[in-house]
Point group: C2
Chain length 337, copies 2
DNA sequence: CTGAAAGCGCTTACAG
DNA sequence: CTGAAAGCGCTTACAG
């Protein structure tokens, strides 16, 4: 910057103001600076500004180590929003990072990020309080809590499950099972509760052994689907906590020569791009990643200016997308024939 | 830091030295500082250090906007390495970022990253020269070039294609097609050349219309597979430039009621996790993401200390993984029967 | 082994 | 409209 100033024949203060844009600089001076900047290919040093401002124009994203395409798809959207705002995305993986979530949080603090998106389960939410204590705007997915410097972006699981169960009911299904996530995880229990509540609203009884604990991954879905298929009163439909689990369920059905949707219908949750690649294509409760990313970004921005920096809840709509993995229940089909 | 110094009853210089670890500090002084740090929950401000050092302990990753799980899987591995080195990952998407690659590069420069991984096609390599000019260690995947501050991590396409074609030949295939990436992209032409060279080495003729231009995505693979299946002398085997393309090819075959591997064999490239989820599971030329991430990380480290900061080439081995999508060629099968 | 001081590159009241 | 100067939080030769 000193070089630029020298070349333009002005002071560094003037250069700074000229680059800032909002400050008052004579037009010809600005031009002089502009030329010098281009001639020297000047790139400002952000850390100097950060040191001054206490803000780095960087946003952190802390993602759990689930090998889930959904997160990548979210990340893509979020990065686009950040870069449109001249912000950069700092990535940290809560699990694989040496030191776990605490070290991720520490990195975010050391770098004075302008905000952090956390995609954890509630069990792990505690380490992130360090962020809000230090007044770093933080938004968590599906934490269902708000507070100072802390907002929540929640998916509308209830509506999604209601639609899914409703759709199955229409197709004649009464024996509907659910493959949840790992036991004890909060998100898992939210979706499970949403499922149960949907059953109740549709007056469908919950059956013994119909609620299974998966692990959000393909292998968990595969394993639990096998178990379900071995039940005496085998379900005619299965809803999975996410698409990866549902894909595992499809695989298990294939391996057991159980036809989908002929013998059993399957519904996932997320709406990842793969759903349309597998066969049968997967019916799913689809979440708009763009909407989710937008909510997260807005939430972080709002927290900076909100009164008392108090957070609020954002709702992300979901939508049942019907594809090949759902069809009429066996019994109904026979009746029709 | 001033607070810590005050509380510990020492100067900030001493605090800095105590935290540094390598400097000489009396043991009891160090303890005093340690206590103060803990009492105040002190988190150092990295930008101050960056300002001083000119290094930020951040690594940039610039990824093209391909909706390809392979990149995420790579990113995961790379992030783990970075965080084990107390480095953070700065993510930029070359395409979606407003301003394209140039603005991504600018962000990296402004933030004084210690190195950058670029995963582009050669067409786009030029903007990244700004990095090496400014002495930022840069490593590109499959660029096949090296230079000052510039290393290359190349996959061993030739070996992979040789194995793939060899495997198909053994199974009796002679009519082998290839679905490439977008025309004009360098990576696409590397893999295509590797395929052609493999054909030559195995004395298999290349047929008209057997080389197709896809787009690295499912829809491109789908589209080109349909075209291939409509040929009069339909191929008995298809190799795709990457797994997403191969998955598209599988879908097209399914839609056309063409059996895989009964009527046609399919081989992908990458080895993404999904290959084992689809049906039939996908035979692929698998690339170790861990190895690739390790090479990139090492390359960046090396460039800082190398003589004249001259880059070099790293080779990442690949390996054919046989799964369900490959089988004996029709003709051979008949002969056997 | 420790402290005072300079300096990294920027921004911004404060004068003029 | 512009310049000189202080200061952001850290590190590190330089004395002691």
């Amino acid at each position: 910057m000193r070089d630029v100033a020298r070349r333009a024949g002005v002071s560094v203060a003037t250069v700074s103001r000229a680059l800032d844009g909002s400050s008052t600089v004579a037009e010809e001076t600005a031009l002089l600076v502009q030329n010098a900047v281009e001639a020297l290919d000047f790139v400002p040093n952000i850390s100097a500004r950060t040191l001054k401002y206490g803000q780095s124009r960087a946003l952190g994203v802390i993602i759990p180590d689930l090998s889930n395409p959904f997160f990548f798809e979210f990340l893509r959207e979020f990065e686009a929003l950040a870069s449109a705002n001249e912000q950069v995305v700092l990535l940290a993986n809560a699990e694989t990072s040496t030191g776990g979530p605490r070290s991720s949080v520490r990195q975010m603090l050391m770098r004075l990020v302008d905000g952090v998106v956390v995609m954890p389960s509630i069990d792990e939410l505690e380490p992130y309080q360090l962020l809000t204590l230090r007044k770093v705007p933080t938004v968590a997915i599906d934490s269902r809590r708000v507070g100072p410097y802390f907002s929540d972006v929640s998916l509308m699981h209830e509506e999604g499950m209601l639609q899914a169960v409703g759709c199955l009911k229409e197709l004649g299904h009464r024996r509907i099972a659910f493959i949840a996530g790992s036991e004890g995880l909060f998100i898992s229990s939210i979706r499970l509760e949403a499922f149960r509540s949907a059953l109740r609203k549709h007056l469908i009884p919950e059956r013994a052994g119909y609620i299974r604990a998966g692990n959000y991954r393909v292998d968990g879905g595969d394993r639990e689907m096998r178990a379900l298929l071995e039940l005496r009163d085998r379900p005619t439909a299965v809803i999975a906590i996410n698409d990866m689990t549902a894909l595992g369920a499809l695989r298990a059905a294939r391996a057991a020569s159980v036809s989908v949707p002929g013998d059993v219908s399957v519904i996932g949750f997320d709406g990842i791009e793969l759903d349309e690649v597998v066969s049968p294509t997967l019916t799913t409760i689809s979440v708009s990643r763009a909407h989710m990313a937008k909510s997260c970004h807005t939430a972080l921005k709002e927290l900076q200016t909100a009164r008392h920096h108090e957070g609020r809840q954002f709702q992300v709509p979901v939508e049942l997308v019907r594809r090949q993995s759902t069809g009429p229940a066996r019994r109904l089909r026979k009746a029709v024939l």
